[in-house]
């Protein structure tokens, strides 16, 4: 055989700087997102420490607003999105029998601009006037006329993140469409590949809209336009329409790959095929389609005409149908399987429970008249943490434990993994369940201090948040421990119930895989 096909990675730093290897790039994406996850988590810890009791103890309101803004931005754009892009980079070629991503050089670039974007974003903390303080939704005119000077750096970093996401998405689309192994028809693709293909189209469709929103902000701030200022004939509500036209599909950009992960893992540990593969694919596609028609459910109190309220309420309720189909499918897959409960499976079951609760509160929020009470209260905070954290973070954690042996050739510590699950599950619920009560009882979100009747549940929530934060440190420890001192595994399948091309490869997966495409029957 020709020696070239077997060359390993380059040595030293240049391996990572110049790499075009999908496994290297996937690895970097995931480590980067973990670092951002810890950073965004640290911001959250500051928020929860301040909210531990009434009164201002730790930080001033100005800094509090900076923390909640950076927490949101870093978690959404720095932790969750790159984590799934990294997972896609690593796994999609191995799942469809391709040697690498279709556009490997662009792949390198789309990763390497990210650290610069976030370095710039976080550096605003040290600028005069402080970092952005207008929330991750950055509503105008708070984010334009009334913003700190650092807003310009924020805009630039959003642009870079957007470019990175779009390039990543284009790469995934090109790979899935062109590089499937012979015989792998669309309806034979693993669910994770399907959900990512649809997510990638969502990204290409809405990231430019976000870029448009921040560009209009930039024009308003520096070039005298008035897109979002009524004084110059513009409209602050226009900002919200543009933002949420991006923002709602963004929710599915975050959650669809999570659905994919769960649809891979549950059949493995139930030792039974996914109940309704076809309906899962159609459900994913309909969720993606509907996600473009519901954006104004974030704006029920903005003073829309009644026809708008009704349209967006009905359309939003409709999304519950395909989402329900997903949950029913997972449960039916488990039904009459032969289940074992390794760490990835535990996280998937946790995902189903918590995501379903988040789905229920989502239906409640979709009821426009009731939203007049829920809107901008802690009820919303509880809701989106149930779908975002339980949805994306639980499933990502499941994915890490599930594929880690394939990546490293070492087995993680099962007891430590299970312990982490229980700490995370209990901490998460302690942190976020009481927030439903707080919101219903009238506590607005994004406040640094609260009326006395909210004291007890806030205290509980803070304690839960610290516990949940601790669980993430344990995750990092467990992964590093596995790489350094895990028990070696050689079985290509790793899990006896695992299905799919990645499990036909040797363990650990070599640097180059499927240089000759496999035959899929």
């Amino acid at each position: 055989m020709d020696a070239h096909a077997h060359h390993g990675p380059a040595k030293g730093l240049t391996r990572w700087l110049f790499t075009t290897n999908h496994k290297d790039i996937g690895t970097m994406y995931m480590w980067f997102s973990f670092a951002m996850f810890i950073l965004g988590g640290a911001f959250a810890m500051i928020i929860r420490a301040e909210l531990f009791q009434p009164g201002l103890q730790m930080v001033n309101p100005e800094f509090f607003n900076q923390m909640l803004t950076l927490h949101g931005l870093v978690m959404v754009f720095g932790a969750i999105m790159p984590a799934f892009v990294g997972l896609a980079n690593y796994m999609i070629p191995m799942m469809i029998g391709a040697p690498d991503m279709a556009l490997p050089r662009m792949n390198n670039w789309s990763f390497w601009i990210l650290p610069f974007a976030f370095a710039m974003l976080v550096s605003t903390l040290f600028m005069e006037g402080g970092s952005p303080n207008f929330g991750w939704t950055f509503y105008a005119p708070l984010s334009t006329t009334y913003a700190p000077p650092s807003v310009t750096f924020f805009i630039f970093s959003i642009h870079i993140m957007g470019m990175s996401s779009i390039m990543g998405a284009i790469n995934i689309i090109a790979t899935v469409i062109n590089m499937r192994a012979p015989g792998m028809t669309y309806m034979k693709m693993p669910m994770f590949v399907w959900t990512w293909l649809i997510t990638a189209f969502l990204l290409v469709a809405v990231m430019p809209v976000l870029a448009g929103a921040v560009t209009m902000m930039l024009m308003d701030i520096h070039f005298g336009t008035s897109f979002f200022s009524a004084a110059g004939g513009g409209d602050p509500v226009l900002f919200q329409h543009v933002f949420w036209f991006f923002g709602h599909p963004e929710v599915y950009i975050v959650i669809l790959p999570a659905f994919g992960v769960v649809s891979q893992i549950i059949p493995t540990f139930a030792r039974k095929p996914l109940f309704g593969y076809d309906s899962m694919v159609y459900a994913t596609a309909s969720i993606a389609f509907l996600s473009f028609l519901v954006w104004a459910h974030h704006m029920f109190t903005v003073g829309m005409p009644i026809a708008g309220e009704l349209f967006f309420m009905y359309a939003t309720l409709l999304i519950a149908v395909p989402t329900g189909v997903k949950v029913f499918n997972w449960v039916t897959t488990m039904f009459r399987g032969s289940m074992t409960f390794e760490t990835p499976m535990l996280f998937c079951i946790g995902f189903i429970i918590l995501f379903t609760i988040g789905g229920f509160t989502g239906v409640m929020l979709a009821i426009a008249p009731a939203d007049f009470q829920y809107h901008d209260s802690y009820f919303v905070v509880a809701h989106f943490h149930y779908v975002m954290v339980a949805g994306a973070v639980f499933s990502m954690t499941a994915a890490i434990y599930y594929w880690l042996p394939k990546w490293t050739g070492k087995m993680y510590d099962e007891t430590l993994g299970k312990t982490q699950f229980w700490i995370a599950f209990i901490g998460f619920n302690l942190a976020f369940f009481p927030q439903h009560f707080l919101g219903l009882a009238g506590m607005p979100r994004r406040i640094p201090d609260y009326a006395l009747q909210f004291t007890n549940f806030n205290m509980l929530s803070s304690i839960g948040a610290f516990i949940y934060g601790g669980a993430q440190v344990l995750l990092g420890f467990n992964v590093i421990r596995t790489i350094v001192a895990g028990k070696p595994v050689n079985d290509p399948k790793v899990w006896d119930g695992a299905q799919g091309l990645e499990w036909t490869l040797p363990t650990p997966a070599p640097y180059h895989t499927f240089t000759t495409p496999p035959e899929v029957k």
Binding site: K272, L310, P369, N456
Partner: protein
């Protein structure tokens, strides 16, 4: 000790309380103070028809979700307990069932329609702002509310409503009062059993006016006017907060509505109008320097001290002692006070203080903290200055 135990007990019972509260929801409708009790876990029934309707939809949807949740989770936990490898359960290999899949698409769809029907009628009620007995213009400012009663005869009265919780309470150097952060210097007063329409707008950024017991939350947007209405059926104080992130003191701009009997409202309104007439009279008056300085000091300590410090030494705001603007041309000082400095924390006080107050505070800062300008600004000067703009 007992209290502490009770608190823990209530805390542990939170979720149970949520369930109970819905069963006996009438028990929770005892009034505004009842609703804002520690460990409150549910939405208020409130004191308007709309808020009660919202509460009932909320509970309906909640129970439907509970029912679906019980069905899904019990199926799942049943399999988790029974269909496990450790019990030697052999996996079956069934998948796809068109009948089942059609069922779990159609049934949720029908349930959603059941939810959407009452929701639609309530939203129609919320939007019916016609035929109000009273109109109040509510303007959000960073970080206070202004209420203006629209009078058919053109004799509008207006006032600002700011949080009255002290900085010491917030910093923890003074004990926190019962209504910590949800109390104001002057609540908005409305009559009971009357349809009151609130016209909402904002002066700077977007705020949101929220009174949970009225079922009202509506954005106050600069340059636009939104409408909301309430017909409160019970007298009392109803408290809420700004709900849209609006900058530094977003957490410190509460809403307090005092609902009173018609007679009480009428006499309150008369008193307010008299007060307004008095101010008008004062506007024409010529004050002496000590009078202005004395009055200006009170205003300074109420409005300016938080940013500029008790001795004009500065803080969040610039120092006023020996400041170039304060010791410069009088018009320049007045201009800064009236129009603020855009893009900074220095607000435009021209619309927030009346001309007497503006005159007094301008005179005060030019004659204190070692600034001995010796000049005066009379209310009529402020009036002319504003007119000349």
């Amino acid at each position: 000790m007992y209290q502490k135990a009770m608190r823990l007990y209530r805390l542990a019972l939170g979720p149970v309380l949520l369930l109970l509260s819905s069963i006996g929801s009438s028990a929770w409708a005892q009034g505004p103070t009842e609703w804002r009790h520690p460990n409150q876990v549910n939405m208020p029934v409130g004191v308007t028809e709309v808020s009660a309707q919202i509460h009932s939809i909320h509970m309906t949807v909640f129970w439907i979700c509970v029912a679906i949740g019980v069905a899904v989770f019990s199926t799942m936990f049943y399999s988790i307990l029974v269909h496990r490898k450790s019990r030697g359960y052999k996996p079956s290999h069934f998948h796809e069932s068109t009948k089942l899949e059609i069922a779990w698409t159609i049934v949720p769809f029908i349930i959603l329609i059941v939810m959407a029907v009452p929701a639609t009628s309530t939203i129609i009620a919320i939007y019916d702002t016609e035929d109000a007995d009273l109109d109040i213009l509510v303007t959000g400012y960073q970080w206070k509310w202004k209420y203006e009663y629209i009078d058919p005869a053109g004799e509008n009265i207006s006032f600002f409503s700011s949080m009255s919780t002290t900085p010491e309470e917030i910093a923890g150097t003074a004990p926190k009062g019962e209504n910590y952060l949800i109390e104001v210097d002057e609540p908005v007063v409305i009559p009971v059993n009357k349809k009151v329409r609130f016209l909402l707008t904002a002066n700077d950024v977007i705020h949101a006016w929220w009174v949970p017991e009225f079922g009202i939350k509506k954005d106050a947007i600069p340059g636009f006017i939104n409408e909301a209405w309430a017909r409160p059926l019970k007298t009392g104080f109803y408290r809420g907060q700004c709900a849209e992130l609006c900058g530094r003191d977003h957490g410190f701009m509460p809403v307090v509505v005092s609902v009173v009997e018609q007679e009480e409202y009428d006499s309150w309104l008369t008193a307010k109008k008299e007060e307004a007439a008095q101010i008008k009279e004062l506007m024409a008056k010529h004050f002496t320097l000590p009078e202005l300085v004395q009055q200006g000091q009170q205003i300074y300590n109420r409005v300016c001290v938080a940013c500029h410090g008790p001795n004009g030494e500065g803080g969040i705001g610039n120092a006023l002692a020996k400041s170039a603007i304060v010791t410069g041309a009088l018009d320049e000082t007045l201009d800064t006070v009236v129009h603020g400095v855009p893009g900074t924390a220095m607000q435009a006080f021209g619309g927030q203080l009346n001309d007497v107050e503006l005159a007094a505070v301008t005179t005060y800062i030019r004659n204190s903290f070692g600034n001995n300008m010796g000049d005066m600004t009379q209310p009529v000067d402020v009036f002319n200055f504003k007119k000349g703009q």
